[in-house]
Symmetry: C2
Subunit: 137 residues, 2 copies
Amino acid sequence: MQQEAVLKKAGLSVTESRKTILELFFASEGALAHADIEKHSSINIDRVTVYRTLQTFVESGIIHQIPTTDNTILYALCKDSCEAGHHHDEHVHFICVSCNKTNCLDDVIVPKVKLPNGFLPLQTAMVVKGTCIDCRN
Amino acid sequence: MQQEAVLKKAGLSVTESRKTILELFFASEGALAHADIEKHSSINIDRVTVYRTLQTFVESGIIHQIPTTDNTILYALCKDSCEAGHHHDEHVHFICVSCNKTNCLDDVIVPKVKLPNGFLPLQTAMVVKGTCIDCRN
DNA sequence: AAATGATTTGCAATATTGTTGCAATATTTT
DNA sequence: AAAATATTGCAACAATATTGCAAATCATTT
């Protein structure tokens, strides 16, 4: 069972809630918001547990956060290579304005930018909004 | 009075609330969140009015939104050149992890990235976290 | 496999944040 | 200055997020 392996590798206890939430991420095409998880029909986990699980997953490097401009945080699975504490500078996120799905463009690397003198970068996020491949018909 | 001019130029009614909030932005070094405005000591404007004012300012191109990963939206003044409906792809935002201020790096242009075939970009945001010039001592 | 200890979960209560309708007020236009 | 328009604040409500704590689950040891 894939979920168990991921949890164990991260040094986390293997619990029903965690397995279920992880399953949702594996099944999902794009990124998920807290609300997506909580409102998922086949799920029956306390709100609080969802909050805590997401936080734990972020801290363990299982998922990462994607910045948005609408008062939600999106979460997406990290690639296998990710480890706890890892920075997620690498890839660009794409939010489709039509279907509203968020894709990790794993192959599109965030370019380095030259900052003004004195600014020390630690982490860079790049979010592109537009129309995704599925919605261009 | 600078605030009045900005409001008139945007075709908005000139009201006390709007002038006051605009004043805050002019006085502030970095970006502001809704909470910053509401909790500002010298201010006494209804929550609802703050929400609506910010929304109006965004729609009029007076301020723009900055995406974050912490369930808040940050707002910052647009440069003079901005107009309503304008895209704010141009410049990079920098969030200092030490003082927590957000700067618009007006001179740092967001680089174009090549997306996979079929993805049509409309808007691109780039947020860098790190240590700002004031906090590196 | 049972017992122990550590961790996780769910509930309840509370706090914070965001939204809507509507009457009163302020602003703009005539 | 009056009429028309737009904005504000209140009240009520909805949605989202956080905390403490007892019960339940999980991992570890025997």
